[in-house]
């Protein structure tokens, strides 16, 4: 068996008449003395001689159109497959998506920074038609004339006012540690003195 791979690789090109003069001479020189390569060349000739039928000009002319239509059909099928499974909203143009995104961001921002309304105190329906919310000296009334709700409101107000006075008193006491009690008392006005007096009375009664 011939082991000259170089020549054997050139045999197909020799058959195709694709070798230059030097290579052709080299191959023919080898063939004259190598039966194995001659057999191989005959085999290659048989293989190359196998005819390929021609389907005809009509077949060749129609092929581009057939391929184009099938490509189009498959692409449309792919699109309709996705379209039936993806909500229509996802096929909207980009500007729509941008507008939606802006809306979402704006809504989220408003929810984060909006002013939180102060809790509104529930007030029971008064038994009387009107409830006084403020009291002035000119409007002094008999407690017995007030409804339970109005009495509660007065009590709530008074407690708040007294708490403020107490805070102020404590501040004064802390800030004026050097002052004597008498000095501190002289700094109070009449109203404050009366409130203080009432407070002391109530504490004495409790004790």
């Amino acid at each position: 068996m011939c082991t000259n791979n170089d020549i054997q690789e050139l045999l197909p090109a020799y058959l195709e008449q694709a070798l230059d003069q030097n290579e052709r001479a080299r191959v023919e020189g080898h063939l004259s003395s190598c039966g194995d390569c001659r057999t191989e060349l005959e085999l290659l000739r048989l293989l190359a001689a196998e005819p390929v039928p021609d389907p005809g000009e009509a077949f060749w002319a129609a092929m581009p159109g057939k391929v184009f239509r099938q490509v189009r059909s498959e692409e449309q099928q792919k699109r309709s497959w996705w379209g039936s499974r993806v909500p229509l909203i996802l096929t909207l143009p980009r500007w729509t998506w941008a507008a939606v995104a802006v809306l979402i961001v704006a809504s989220a921002s408003w929810l984060l920074v909006r002013p939180v309304p102060a809790p509104i105190a529930r007030v029971a329906t008064p038994e009387r038609s009107a409830v006084r919310t403020t009291l002035t000296p000119a409007d002094a009334m008999e407690l017995a004339d007030l409804s339970d709700t109005e009495v509660d409101a007065v009590d709530l107000w008074a407690t708040g006012e007294l708490a403020l006075l107490q805070d102020d008193y404590l501040d004064i006491m802390q800030n004026n540690a050097d002052l004597s009690v008498e000095d501190r008392l002289t700094e109070l006005n009449t109203e404050e003195l009366e409130s203080l007096s009432r407070m002391l009375d109530s504490q004495n009664e409790e004790s």
Binding site: M1, N5, Q8, E9, P12, Y14, L15, E16, Q17, L31, G35, D36, R38, T39, E40, L41, E42, L43, L44, L46, L47, A48, E50, P51, V52, P53, P55, F59, W60, M63, P64, G65, K66, V67, F68, Q70, V71, E74, E75
Partner: protein
């Protein structure tokens, strides 16, 4: 730029004429190779259309590292392999006898037909890679570099497949081959 790549760019922009030109350019060589693989004209025609459709519908997968023709051949070979394997398993010899029909009764025609059947059986008995390499080199006149690109192997491997395939064919057809060559091959 490669002509095929230029045509592909035009196809991508919707140029129908470029599309038709690409198909016309490659359809005959593809059909020839497919026919040699499956030995049936109808099957080869069907595979040709499938190859071209698959190439254009999956054009995004073409990375342009090889030529467009090489890529087409790869698709065609893959599509033909399954059909060829089915045929080989069935032992079918679907030789196209168009040429024999011209004069079916002469002895020469019958001898030719018998020789072709033996050649076909010998070819189908080769391992797939060797058969493909021999077919591409001898019948499709592809270079070893082109074969390596189509079959995704090295040039050395394509040469080795070729040598082994030819040696096996010679052994199987030794009683048919006479070893005689004409003094002038270039007729």
């Amino acid at each position: 730029m490669d002509d095929d790549l230029e045509l592909l760019d035009r196809v991508a922009s919707g140029d129908r004429e470029a599309f038709d030109e690409l198909v016309r350019k490659h359809q005959k060589p593809l059909f020839s190779m497919l026919y040699r693989m499956v030995s049936d004209a109808d099957d080869a025609a069907d595979l040709l259309q499938k190859t071209l459709v698959k190439a254009f519908t999956g054009i995004q997968a073409f990375e342009r590292r090889s030529s467009f023709r090489t890529w087409l051949y790869q698709i065609a070979i893959n599509l033909a392999k399954n059909l060829y394997r089915d045929r080989a398993r069935a032992g079918r010899v679907p030789l196209d006898d168009v040429i024999i029909r011209r004069d079916p009764k002469t002895l020469e025609s019958l001898i030719k037909k018998e020789a072709r059947e033996r050649l076909y059986k010998a070819l189908t008995s080769l391992p797939e890679k060797q058969r493909l390499t021999v077919m591409l080199r001898v019948q499709e006149q592809k270079t070893f570099n082109e074969i390596a690109g189509v079959m995704k192997c090295s040039v050395g491997t394509s040469k080795a497949n070729y040598h082994h395939g030819v040696q096996k064919l010679k052994a199987m057809l030794s009683d048919t081959l006479t070893g005689e060559i004409k003094s002038d091959v270039h007729e």
